[in-house]
């Protein structure tokens, strides 16, 4: 042990004789090791972000949506999910904890002279909880609202602002088509959910008006008529979406199959789709893993390059210090003493690079955030054009990446130091002493 310690001190001393050369060699390893930690941190950050987005949709949820078939397939009888589908799913599948029917329409809402285009969302009282909406003023819809002959509605944050920029909306009546709705509550702002894997569109919750789905069926029916200049279009849809929730995560995939089979029986057209966030979660996990592996390979390449740098410099050192090797051999150094000395030097180089690299890696989170802030300030448009995941990713240093990075630096030092060290030890002492 003491012998190794002495060898270490000796090698640090020889390395300090050429500070620039040693520094540049260390730089190579520094970049490689910092790269390993950064890339793992960024990979992990991206994965975490994706998982968060999917978790927003709910890992225990199954979403069944109406999809409009291509126009020549549409029949007069309408398309999409039906109330019968919903009841059958709700009543026959025992693993379901909750089942929510949702009907969404585009409407123009008015209050006095103010008006705006928004979504009329027919839903049940559970909807607020499932969609993570929080009440701001008043209350959300209740079961009795649905049974009531009167029309009640709840406004989303932006809808409330547009219709009631100054006053208190509670108790006021807003108009959609020819119907009046009494405002009983408003909701807090909620960020729009992100698109996941391209299978669910970004959903903007801000300009919604919520009414009980029973009121919607009763007052508006299933027919939607859109009149545009030169065009008349009617759609007959009963339910836009079911939000289903199961009791346990591991029931999700099986239940989704059963749901598919249950609905399939009554549908000849491909007019619905089943989305399972958990499935997306698993896909995202695979994507993330691939990402980490890919970035890891880049880091590995840079480490090999750094290692070759060490080998290169050590080979040059051996040639340059042939005389020293000869002197040491003459004074009693065994071959393995020489091997140890040169190996120690390459390990010191790589470990110092590794430690600095770990230090640099720990700054990752801070630097990414700072750098992005700078970019956002300098080039706002270009930054906006980047995918959201890159704009918002927060790299977190993975704790296990630190010991791993350190071990890698030791290994690189040994692997790329062995050959020069053996070459040094193989020199003939007589020849080496004669070397100028």
């Amino acid at each position: 042990m003491r012998r190794w310690w002495r060898t270490m001190r000796l090698s640090i001393k020889s390395l300090l004789l050429h500070p620039l050369r040693s520094g540049l060699t260390i730089l190579g390893i520094f970049i490689g090791i910092a790269g390993v930690i950064w890339l793992l941190a960024i990979g992990d950050g991206i994965g975490r972000k994706a998982e968060e987005q999917i978790a927003e949709l709910g890992a225990r949820n199954i979403i069944v949506s109406t999809v409009k078939p291509s126009s020549d397939e549409v029949q007069d009888s309408g398309y999409g999910l039906t109330r019968a589908d919903f009841e059958r799913v709700r009543d026959t599948i025992s693993t379901l904890k909750r089942a929510l029917p949702i009907r969404i329409l585009s409407k123009e809402f008015r209050y006095l002279t103010r008006k705006f285009e928004g979504r009329l969302v027919g839903c049940t009282p559970d909807y607020a909880e499932v969609s993570r909406l929080e009440v701001d003023q008043g209350r959300f819809l209740t079961d009795s609202d649905g049974r009531s002959e009167r029309n009640y509605c709840v406004l989303a944050e932006a809808s409330a602002k547009k219709l009631f920029p100054f006053g208190d909306p509670l108790g006021k009546r807003i108009m959609a088509d020819d119907e009046f709705y009494i405002v009983v509550g408003t909701m807090k702002k909620r960020h729009s959910s992100s698109a996941v894997g391209g299978s669910t569109a970004v959903e903007d919750f801000s300009s919604d008006v919520y009414i009980p789905i029973e009121s919607l069926w009763r007052r508006l029916g299933d027919m939607i008529i859109v009149t545009k200049p030169g065009q008349f279009q009617s759609d007959l849809v009963e339910v836009s979406r079911f939000n289903l929730e199961v009791h346990h995560r591991d029931q999700v995939l099986n239940t989704a199959e059963v749901v598919k089979n249950t609905i399939e029986a009554d549908h000849t057209l491909p007019d619905y789709s089943v989305t399972v966030p958990l499935e997306l979660l698993q896909q995202a996990e695979t994507t993330r893993l691939m990402f980490v592996i890919f970035l890891g390979m880049i880091a590995a390449v840079s480490l090999v390059v750094g290692g070759i740098g060490i080998m290169n410099i050590m080979l040059a050192t051996v040639t340059e210090r042939t005389r020293e090797i000869g002197i040491r051999r003459a004074l009693g150094a065994k071959r393995r003493d020489i091997t140890r000395q040169f190996l120690a030097e390459s390990v010191v180089l790589s470990v110092v690079g590794g430690l600095l690299g770990i230090g640099g890696g720990l700054l990752c989170t801070l630097m990414t955030v700072e750098f992005r802030t700078l970019l956002e300030y300098k080039f706002p448009e270009q930054m906006l054009a980047l995918p959201e995941i890159i704009r918002e990713v927060e790299p977190t240093v993975v704790p296990w990446s630190i010991p791993v990075a350190f071990s890698i630096s030791v290994i690189v030092g040994v692997v790329f130091g062995v050959y020069p060290a053996i070459r040094a030890a193989k020199l003939d002492p007589i020849e080496a002493l004669r070397h100028e």
């Binding site: 001393k13 009693g332 007589i430 002493l433």
Partner: protein
């Protein structure tokens, strides 16, 4: 009975080049009694350097025997040779061969590092040795900051640190001016007077004259082996 520091019997060394065999030593025999001061002379190609390498345990003979104490160097492994160099032989070279990165004291310490005798107390011994060769105020200097004579004194101190059976000096004054040569030879004579065994290779007759015994080599053999009557030092 005189104790022998080393004993050579019919020592041979052949070098095998691609097409021919070079017989560098063709049977060399002599004894090195403890306390002797021997100079080896001879023209280049006489086998002088080969003999030096063998005496220094840097190489193995092809034939014959080379006894150091009761061990035969001819049959030693590479590691054992290194061990012998570390423990039994003190080297002094023409070009000093100090390690440039180390200070005077650290240079003197190097053989201890390999013999395994480096202890906290050994540092004081190295300082004592440096004092003995007159470098007590240069302990922390590097070789580049020293004159040739001073560097050779460091080398002498280094050769003494492992308390060797004999000191092997390879043209120790070859790079020095006359005054410094005398200084160094003075130190060596003093060491010999204190009982140190010294074997020195030189090509300067006036240097050889100051040793107790001169062996003249020619064509891989000993041409003459004579005591110097003028030598005033202690000898067996």
């Amino acid at each position: 009975m005189t104790v022998l520091a080393a004993s050579l019997r019919d020592l041979q060394k052949d070098y095998y080049l691609s097409s021919e065999t070079v017989r560098a030593l063709r049977g060399v025999s002599f004894d090195v009694p403890e306390g002797d001061y021997i100079s080896i002379m001879g023209p280049s190609g006489s086998g002088k350097s080969t003999l030096l390498n063998l005496l220094g345990c840097l190489d193995r003979p092809t034939g014959g025997s080379f006894l150091l104490g009761d061990e035969d160097v001819a049959h030693m492994s590479d590691d054992k040779l290194a061990e012998t160099r570390a423990n039994r032989i003190g080297f002094i070279f023409q070009s000093y061969n100090l390690l440039q990165a180390l200070t005077v004291v650290e240079n003197i310490e190097v053989p201890l590092y390999y013999s395994g005798d480096l202890t906290p107390e050994s540092r004081q011994r190295c300082i004592d040795l440096a004092t003995k060769v007159g470098l007590e105020d240069r302990l922390d200097h590097r070789p580049a900051q020293l004159s040739g004579g001073q560097q050779q004194r460091v080398a002498i101190a280094r050769s003494l640190v492992n308390d060797p059976r004999f000191i092997l000096a390879d043209e120790p004054t070859g790079n020095l001016d006359t005054a410094t040569t005398q200084e160094i030879l003075g130190i060596l004579a003093e060491l010999n007077a204190q009982g140190r065994t010294i074997v020195m290779v030189t090509h300067e007759p006036e240097v050889a004259e100051q040793t107790g015994r001169t062996i003249l080599m020619r064509d891989g053999r000993i041409q003459s082996d004579e005591r110097n009557m003028a030598f005033s030092g202690v000898s067996s």
